[in-house]
Structure formats: structure tokens, C-alpha cells
């Protein structure tokens, strides 16, 4: 019996979310590291819309057959990898460094919260599966 039949899509979603949030933390760390670098534009990893699309239309492949066709609808879940978006601020101050410490700290806290939420939910689901598998009758 293939073991993957036990784990439904939600476990895959949580896995993907953990991956993306981890990468987001790297991006935020980079922003904080370059908080004094002249000319640096802070980045953020955007993936929630991509994830939503992939969940709503899971059967459409992201790569179309004809090179002139655009892929419409969501891709499969594994292909969601998030987009780096640069937050351009035109404040015109001094060294053109756009990193805002408060925004980065809030983004970091939010990211961490969602990461821990995802691990907790994953634990609950896996724990339930273990209980079912282990109940002795």
C-alpha cells in the first residue's frame, strides 16, 4: 500500500508553507542585515496568492504545451515557490536605503507566528494519524 495515500493535500500544503515561510525569514534577515547599506531596496517573499491559486485549481499544469500559450489558473502545489517583491520607497532620503526597521520586525514576528502555527497543525494531523495506526484491535 503506497504510504502517500495516507497523507492528504493539507499535509502537503503545510509542508509547502513551512518551506516558504523559512525562505521568507531568510529574506527578512537579509533586509535587517542591510539596514544601513546605501542604495539597498528591501525584499519580501510573496506566495499567498500563488498558494491560493494552486489550491483552487489543482489540475492545471503550470507549463503549457504550446510555447505561445500562457498558463492560466493555478499550478500544482509543488511548483509554488513564491516571488521576491522589492518594496520600493521613494522617500528620497540620503542614501536611498529603504529598509524600515519597524516593518521588518513586524514582518518577522508575523512570519514566525505562521511558521509555528504550521508546525503545530502538522503535529496535530500527524499525531492523529499515528493514533489511528497504533490503536490496537
Amino acid at each position: 500500500m503506497p504510504i502517500n495515500g495516507l497523507f492528504n493535500r493539507t499535509v502537503g500544503v503545510l509542508n509547502k508553507v513551512l518551506d516558504l515561510r523559512h525562505r521568507n525569514q531568510q529574506v527578512i534577515s537579509s533586509n535587517l542585515a542591510n539596514i544601513d547599506t546605501p542604495g539597498y531596496t528591501p525584499a519580501r517573499l510573496r506566495f499567498e496568492e500563488d498558494l491560493q491559486q494552486a489550491l483552487e485549481s489543482p489540475n492545471q499544469a503550470a507549463s503549457p504545451l504550446h510555447p505561445n500559450h500562457f498558463a492560466i489558473g493555478g499550478g500544482s502545489l509543488e511548483q509554488v515557490s513564491g516571488r521576491i517583491e522589492h518594496l520600493v520607497t521613494n522617500s528620497g532620503l540620503g542614501d536611498q536605503n529603504g529598509v524600515n526597521l519597524d516593518q521588518e520586525m513586524v514582518a518577522q514576528a508575523e512570519n514566525q507566528l505562521y511558521y509555528e502555527a504550521a508546525t503545530t497543525m502538522l503535529n496535530k494531523k500527524l499525531g492523529l494519524l499515528k493514533y489511528i495506526v497504533q490503536s490496537d484491535r
Binding site: 500544503v13 499567498e48 498558494l51 489550491l55 507566528l113 502555527a117 497543525m121 493514533y131
Partner: protein, 96 residues
């Protein structure tokens, strides 16, 4: 004549087997409703988790409660199934 009446009174009435069937049906109904409950709460919990993480709203506490409900209803169902299997085995063990 009177003895026949007494014998008639002592015989179990024809409606009695239906009553035991209804009791057995009661447990089967419980089992069925537990199965439906399990699949419904699981689907709810999965949907809540996916919505939370794809940015479509839902709050952390709602998702955690939904997950807990799915967890409890699954455990209840497993226990009911165990009891049903036990009861079946008990009956099979009875020597006729």
C-alpha cells in the same frame, strides 16, 4: 380454555424482536452518524488550515478549534468501532 390464555400471555409477543432490532439499529445509527461527523469535521479542519495559510482569512483560534474537533470526533469514532468489534467478538464467542 383458561390455561391456553395463560400460555398465550407467557409467550413473547411478536413485536418484541422488532424492539431489539430497533436497539441494535440505534447503535448502528450512532456509528453512521459518527462516520459522517468524522469526515465532516476533518474536511472542515483541512479547509480551515488551507484558508489560513493561503491568506484567505480565518483566525488562528478558529483553525485550532476546528482541528481539535476533528481530532476528538476521530478518536470517538475509533472507540465506537472498537466497542462494536468487541461486542461482535463477544457474541461470536457465545456457545449456542
Amino acid at each position: 380454555m383458561k390455561s391456553i390464555d395463560i400460555v398465550n400471555v407467557n409467550l413473547p409477543s411478536p413485536t418484541a424482536p422488532q424492539k431489539t432490532e430497533k436497539q441494535g439499529g440505534g447503535f448502528a445509527d450512532q456509528l453512521k452518524s459518527a462516520i459522517n461527523n468524522v469526515s465532516e469535521t476533518q474536511a472542515n479542519a483541512d479547509r480551515a488550515v488551507e484558508q489560513l495559510h493561503s491568506g484567505q482569512g480565518g483566525s488562528l483560534h478558529e483553525v485550532m478549534i476546528a482541528l481539535e474537533k476533528a481530532d476528538i470526533s476521530m478518536r470517538l469514532f475509533v472507540q465506537l468501532r472498537n466497542k462494536a468489534v468487541d461486542a461482535y467478538q463477544e457474541i461470536m464467542r457465545m456457545s449456542v
